[in-house]
Symmetry: C2
Subunit: 173 residues, 2 copies
């Protein structure tokens, strides 16, 4: 995935979606890398993101807490692997802060598959080509993630990101 | 661990050893980063390293195959996370090449704990201060690694590295 911008996803193991959005990539980057800008869009409503911690460097923590419409909370802790401003953000749930491996025993409420995700941004005719790629350990992991609604979920969240970014662009200063 | 050269290991989760060796750090780096120089010392004899593949960049593969005195072979696949020439090398068994998470199902012959390791090198009075740190997901992982003979194994391997490096220094050119 890294150092290889033309990564071809493996359809057995990976999930990917690509979209052209009419928001400059600098705003997309900001939406992904500061808690203040991430929390309002990161979960497709009626789910919400109620907490977020970002230590934006390789080895740094990426932590979010999602809340279901029923009020159940789901913490997610990951670790950034690559941070290239306005271009590429890579993180994994297989490691925590400081690259410590994630315990593989399943606790109540934890997701039972691991993934590494990348967001790639490229300028494109007044907007951004946005590519999200998620790679899994095995076919079972990919399948679970797909069945949880990967495409729908990440797509709706991106809609929310775009709507918020446009509102910020158009806000009087 | 990264971006924090004064990392203080957590005694419940980590294993560490530090040694001053009378070999320049450039030779230690070479011994860790080229298959030709790694294979002769990497396993404490009578174990041997019979294959090695190194793609020396973050996201690149670090693969070795160890052979027991009885002839059983143990492949290990990991992923580099940080590569800072002559200073710091960090890799993890929790990810494979391209940062793909390692399957957590246990196969026969695979080690049943994951770790992230770093080798830190600093110049020190004509030689090198060598610090190896291995961090685990949980106390059980640390315990298993310790019982497998971490200190003895990594210590003997380092003795082998030092002996070979000195032979190379003293070899007539």
């Amino acid at each position: 995935m890294n150092a290889n911008p033309t990564y071809q996803p493996d359809s057995r193991l990976d999930l990917q979606f690509e979209r052209i959005i009419d928001v400059p990539k600098e705003l997309v980057w900001k939406a992904w890398t500061s808690p203040e800008h991430l929390m309002p869009w990161f979960c497709p409503l009626p789910w919400t993101t109620i907490d977020c911690e970002i230590d934006l460097r390789p080895g740094g923590m990426f932590r979010t807490v999602m809340r279901s419409p029923e009020g159940q909370e789901f913490p997610n802790i990951g670790c950034y692997l690559e941070v290239i401003e306005n271009e590429r953000l890579v993180w994994t749930s297989a490691l925590g802060p400081g690259y410590r491996p994630t315990p593989t025993t399943t606790h109540e409420g934890t997701v039972d598959f691991l993934f590494t995700a990348s967001i790639e941004l490229a300028s494109h005719a007044g907007g951004t080509k946005y590519t999200a790629t998620v790679i899994h350990a095995d076919e079972a992991g990919r399948k679970k993630h797909a069945e949880m609604g990967f495409h729908d979920g990440w797509g709706k969240a991106l809609d929310q990101l775009v709507a918020l970014a446009k509102k910020n662009i158009n806000r009087p200063r």
